[in-house]
């Protein structure tokens, strides 16, 4: 199981090299472990006979053959590779000097273990080191026994060998007899086997592998199964060998089996870990490999009936019938591609295609229905909330969406915004709203201020207040942004409701002001924004997503990350000539910033 943890650990990735690279490294690891194991046990396994010499030199030769060509690889650490080769040659060269051979074998074993786990941290690192060290010891013990001569009785005297072979061997200072070695190494082998098994189970658990259908219908599961069976087989031979004599062939099989198990473990590093089974009825976030890239995909609400499917990028088709897939399209006020699919209750499969490549995503929608708003015009905002919650580890069903009602915190923020505007003595405002319950309730707050409201299209109001959802806001603000390049309209600015903190919306115009209950330049909001960009490339950090993300934080974080409303301005800050610009980066506003421009807003009493 060398390097299995490499991709089991959080955030690590399976190797992207080709099959050839995988084969080479599997050979290198297995052969190195074999050499190291034989070397480590040299002081207790007696002088090496011809068989052990052949096996050790052959394994070392394999390492050199596969390692030397790798020196030219651009990403290969030459000092480590050179050290590896030197150690692997030193071990068989010191066959006649067991103490030195043991030290060299130990060094090689440690090197192999460290190499295999070098990219891991924390528990994964220590588990990997223990697993590897035990595997080396176990492999060494089995190999030493397998290459030892059998009992004299097994080998009758011949004309050429009139004396019992073992007697001659002992006289010549050669191998210790196999049965003696079995007894001598049994405690070590049993301990190593227990450690290999225990750490292997923990590694698999850490990787998210479970005892479920994925064990037989995924490549990872099958390799893991094969490795487990091999280890069980070797373990069974060991148990039997301790109790009674077993033929030499059994030890050879054990050696080969253990080496194969070691190889299988190494292969696991190159096989994608199967994704967990979907949580029933909970918004689902998965990665699919399409066109050589990992494409995140979000299914929301992941309930029976109409669902939103959101992916990063374009040209992706999805559906439950591979013969009738629907292509995702862009939606105003959002990033990436979107479409809807109708899902049945219970388990089903979503097919995701790009070009000629099709991948499958397991679904389990359960039986409960989700609110209609989860897939309506404000569905993407609801999906963003769901994504934020998923990022925070919250696997809970969507029972309501932000646009269903004017949340008390948002109401407080809107009141604060209107209080600020009335304090500026505006002669009139224009209001951009829509038919959602939230917008309607917020609109009433504007009416209550008594400030004359004029049509948006006139552009004659002192300021524009936008209370709609993402889509109408983005569409209308784009038109207003274009007008602002030619005429001075809304001279007091464009003000947005707090739920419109969403880059595709706020960058539709040059700059906006909106009430927020958190400072995007503080640790919690900045962490959320980075996590969104890291987990779902191209996805925007949004107010809804942040609110969803906060649901998975500690109580103190929830309190610190959602305080009292103040006004913030959101503006691009490009400051560079266009030829230098390549818009990138994640965060609340790529190539821009969101900055506080007021203290806490007046939200109680007064007007409104």
């Amino acid at each position: 199981m060398i390097a299995t943890l490499a991709q089991h650990g959080h955030g690590a990735a399976p190797v992207t090299g080709g099959t050839g690279e995988v084969v080479v490294r599997v050979l290198l690891l297995t052969a190195s472990a074999l050499v190291a194991g034989i070397g480590v046990l040299a002081p207790v396994s007696g002088p090496a006979g011809a068989a052990r010499r052949v096996v050790t030199w052959t394994a070392a030769g394999v390492v050199v053959l596969v390692a030397v060509p790798a020196i030219n690889q651009a990403d290969m650490s030459v000092p480590v590779l050179a050290g590896h080769i030197v150690l692997v040659l030193l071990v068989p060269a010191l066959l006649a000097k067991p103490p030195a051979m043991s030290l060299t074998g130990t060094a090689l074993g440690v090197l192999v273990a460290v190499e295999a786990t070098a990219t891991h941290e924390g528990a994964a690192l220590w588990l990997g080191l223990a697993h590897m060290a035990a595997a080396v010891a176990w492999l060494g013990a089995v190999a030493v026994v397998a290459t030892a001569p059998g009992p004299a009785a097994d080998r009758p005297a011949t004309e050429d060998e009139p004396e019992p072979a073992i007697q001659r061997a002992a006289d010549a200072g050669s191998d210790v007899e196999r049965g003696t070695l079995v007894k001598r190494l049994a405690p070590l082998a049993v301990l190593a086997g227990v450690v290999v098994a225990g750490t292997g189970v923990l590694q698999a658990n850490l990787a998210g592998a479970g005892f479920d259908v994925r064990l037989v219908d995924t490549a990872f599961g099958l390799v893991l199964l094969a490795k487990s069976l091999l280890l069980l087989g070797v373990g069974a031979i060991a148990v039997v060998a301790v109790r009674k004599r077993v033929p030499r062939g059994a030890f050879r099989f054990a050696t080969a089996g253990l080496a194969a198990a070691l190889g299988a473990g190494a292969v696991l590093a190159a096989v994608p870990v199967p994704v967990p089974l979907p949580a029933t009825g909970v918004p689902l976030l998965r990665d699919v490999a399409l066109g050589g890239a990992v494409t995140p995909i979000l299914i929301s609400p992941h309930r029976p009936g109409r669902n939103l499917v959101h992916v990063d990028g374009e040209g992706v088709l999805v559906g439950t019938d591979p013969a009738r897939l629907t292509e995702v399209t862009s939606r105003p006020g959002t990033t990436g591609g979107w479409t809807t699919v109708d899902l049945p209750p219970g388990t089903s499969t979503l097919f995701v295609r790009k070009g000629e490549e099709t991948q499958e995503v397991r679904l389990d929608t359960g039986t409960e229905k989700a609110p209609a708003s989860a897939t309506g015009v404000d569905g993407p905002e609801c999906a963003s909330f769901a994504l934020g919650a998923l990022l925070a580890g919250q696997e809970k069903p969507l029972t309501a969406c932000p646009a269903d009602a004017l949340d008390g915190r948002d109401e407080e923020s809107v009141r604060g915004l209107l209080s600020f505007l009335t304090g500026r003595g505006l002669g009139s405002v224009a209001v951009l709203s829509d038919s959602s319950p939230r917008a309607k309730q917020a609109e009433k707050l504007v009416q209550a201020t008594g400030v004359p409201v004029v049509g948006v299209e006139t552009g004659r109001a002192d300021a524009l207040v936008v209370l709609s959802g993402w889509a109408p806001a983005a569409s209308e603000l784009a038109k207003i942004g274009a007008r602002q390049q030619k005429e001075a309209i809304f001279p007091h600015g464009v003000y947005l409701a707090p739920w419109l903190l969403n880059p595709p919306v706020i960058t539709s115009v040059a700059s906006v002001i909106l009430p927020l209950r958190f400072n995007p330049h503080e640790q919690l909001p900045a962490t959320y924004a980075q996590q969104v960009g890291a987990r779902f490339a191209g996805e925007a950090a949004t107010a809804a997503g942040y609110r969803g993300w906060l649901t998975g934080q500690t109580d103190s974080a929830k309190k610190a990350g959602d305080t009292v409303p103040a006004l913030y301005t959101a503006s691009l800050v490009s400051i560079l000539p266009k030829e230098f610009q390549h818009h990138d980066g994640a965060g609340w506003l790529p190539n821009g910033t969101v900055v506080a421009v007021s203290g806490p807003l007046v939200t109680q009493g007064g007007n409104p």
């Binding site: 060398i2 992207t16 650490s77 070098a118 390049q485 900055v595």
Partner: protein
């Protein structure tokens, strides 16, 4: 089996050698002995703001006898790599190393703090080039640390701006290498402007800062002098000049725009009733002349609503403002000059005219001189006026960057857009220094091979000696690449190519006296440069801080003894895994200052 001590030792060596081998290969560079000291103030919003010193006791505990000079570097955490960056190269036995994916993985990390790095800049010191302290700021993250003042004098506080937080930090450096926070100005205190750029500290310890962007809230803004201007919001126009006290409290906020609006060629987005080019960026002052000069760069928002349509040339400013600062708390714009377009100007492609994007300005220093220089980041040229006290200063182009690029062996044509940054006269007025980032190949099409990055030293003695009658004028195609033909034109005294995008520099205005103390000098013999601009905007740089030695005749050579403590290569790399404040990965060094602790300077 009985283990002797010798065998045990050998066994340990055998076991640890491979780990050492890999550690060598992966370049681990963690810090161990760190002393943390926190300094905090209460901001105008009632919140606690702080800096946390992370002093390296292992380095600072050494006694060398020589007093220390420090290089302070204002740096931002690079978010894409702000955590432990596994620099593990491909190891023979590791199947999971995938550098491309590793880069993606580190994005998962929480944002790291921005910081002021304190580097040992004592030439000859055994710890020369080592980072001895990182003073991290909090709680604001992603400040995008930008500029400080241009040069530091004994007793000065350090004023340091956050481009994206619109905050101005004030640091006390009297007890270096330890720092303390004297104050912070939040954007809610500087409503007249946004996007702070640079600072100039006056003799009384207060400082002026340029706020390049407009008032934070669109609409009419009433300045303290009664002037009313219509602004188009944060990152827009018009910018302002703000004076701070030594705790960062704004003392005055003055309009950079002139009443009634400016030339219609000044474009603002969104359109405002009274157009203005007032987006002050560079700033320097001559207190003896009661004059301060600022150069307008561009409307920082510079919004590109249409990615296909070319940016409006009118957004790149060609203007220089000279302020009357007789009343320090009521600076008034005395003149607004529109600089000449230059011989490369193309009416059909005005966006790269020599006068576009006036990023930096520098004044002459000696009492007999009254001139000033301005350089254009987009235009790639240097302009000069002999008298900033004149009612209508006359500006002329005196140098084209193409001349410097040609000297380095680059056939740079068409010139311009080479990313000129720091501009500074030597304190004795003999030389003019300039940093140029370099232009990426292909900026002007497939045949554009780009232009180099460098620090150049120009001999300006003849030009300044010409008094109010300079003859130098870059006005022909030949003078673009070969320098001005007139005798008083600046001539290249030294040039040091620096790959990686040098944007900023600062002069070492200290020398170690025979008394063992540092003294200020006008014969600066060192320049510190930094390779970073604004990563999010497209010019990132390789995040190295270098020192360039200055010869007595202005010749420049890279100080190869100023080396990174990890890579052992010349220049200090801010791309590293570990800092004294933790494993936060790469950092972005924007500006730097040579500073000496109060007790070590006389």
């Amino acid at each position: 089996m009985r283990f002797s001590k010798k065998r045990l030792l050998i066994g340990l060596v055998a076991a640890l050698t491979p780990i050492g081998l890999i550690n060598y290969s992966t370049g681990q560079d963690a810090y161990a002995d760190i002393q943390q000291l926190v300094s905090s103030v209460t901001g105008a919003d009632g919140k606690n703001y702080s800096i946390t010193n992370n002093l390296r006791a292992d380095v600072l505990g050494r006694s060398e006898g020589t007093r220390k000079e420090w290089l302070l570097v204002w740096a931002g955490d690079e978010n894409i790599a702000d955590t432990v960056v596994p620099t593990v190269k491909g190891l023979p036995g590791n199947l999971s190393v995938d550098p491309a994916k590793l880069t993606q993985d580190v994005v998962n990390a929480a944002p790291g703090p921005d910081f002021l790095a304190v580097i040992d800049a004592t030439k000859g010191s055994p710890t020369y080039g080592q980072v001895v302290n990182t003073a991290t700021v909090g709680p604001l993250v992603e400040n995008e640390p930008h500029h400080m003042q241009y040069i530091w004098h004994k007793g000065d506080k350090i004023f340091a701006g956050g481009l994206f937080t619109a905050a101005t930090y004030v640091f006390d450096v009297a007890k270096l290498p330890e720092l303390s926070l004297s104050g912070i100005s939040l954007p809610t205190q500087t409503l007249s402007g946004s996007v702070p750029d640079a600072y100039w500290v006056l003799k009384d310890g207060t400082a002026y800062g340029t706020y390049m962007g407009g008032p934070v809230v669109p609409g009419p803004y009433v300045y303290e002098n009664g002037q009313v201007s219509i602004g188009n919001g944060f990152g827009g126009s018009p910018g302002s000049l703000i004076r701070f006290d030594e705790k960062g409290v704004p003392l005055s906020q003055s309009p950079a725009t002139t009443p009634g609006g400016e030339d219609p060629s000044c474009v603002n987005l969104p359109t405002i009733v009274e157009p203005t080019c007032a987006n002050p960026h560079g700033i320097q002052a001559r207190e003896d002349l009661n004059r301060l000069i600022t150069s307008d760069y561009l409307e920082p928002r510079n919004i590109i609503l249409d990615p296909v349509k070319i940016t409006d040339p009118g957004l790149r400013r060609p203007t220089v403002r000279i302020w009357d600062i007789s009343d320090r708390d009521n600076p008034k714009v005395a003149s607004v000059s529109y600089l000449p377009t230059g011989p490369r100007a193309n009416p059909e492609d005005p966006i790269r005219n020599e006068n576009k994007g006036l990023m930096e300005t520098t004044v002459t220093n000696r009492p007999e001189h009254r001139g000033a220089f301005v350089q254009s980041m987009v235009g790639g040229a240097i302009f000069y006026t002999p008298d900033i006290t004149a009612a209508k200063p006359e500006w002329r182009e005196v140098f084209d960057d193409t001349t410097a690029a040609t000297q380095l062996g680059y056939g740079q044509f068409p010139a311009g857009a080479d990313g000129g940054g720091w501009l500074q006269t030597s304190l004795d007025d003999r030389f003019l220094y300039k940093a140029v980032i370099g232009r990426p190949a292909g900026s002007y099409g497939a045949t554009d091979k780009g232009s180099p990055g460098y620090i150049v030293s120009l001999d300006i003695q003849e030009l300044l000696a010409s008094g109010n009658s300079p003859q130098c004028s870059i006005d022909s195609i030949d003078e673009i690449a070969n320098g001005g033909q007139e005798a008083d034109c600046p001539a290249i005294a030294g040039i040091q190519q620096i790959d990686g995008g040098p944007h900023w520099g600062t002069l070492d205005n200290f020398e170690l006296g025979a008394d063992g103390y540092y003294h200020e000098t006008d014969q600066a013999r060192r320049i510190a440069s930094s390779n970073y601009f604004v990563g999010r905007s497209g010019i990132n740089g390789d995040h190295r801080v270098c020192i360039i030695d200055v010869g007595s005749e202005g010749e420049l050579t890279l100080d190869e003894t100023f080396r990174d403590e990890n890579s052992k290569q010349p220049c200090v790399a801010f791309n590293r895994k570990s800092w004294p404040h933790g494993d936060f990965g790469n950092a972005k060094p924007h500006s730097q200052l040579f500073v000496v602790a109060d007790e070590d300077v006389r």
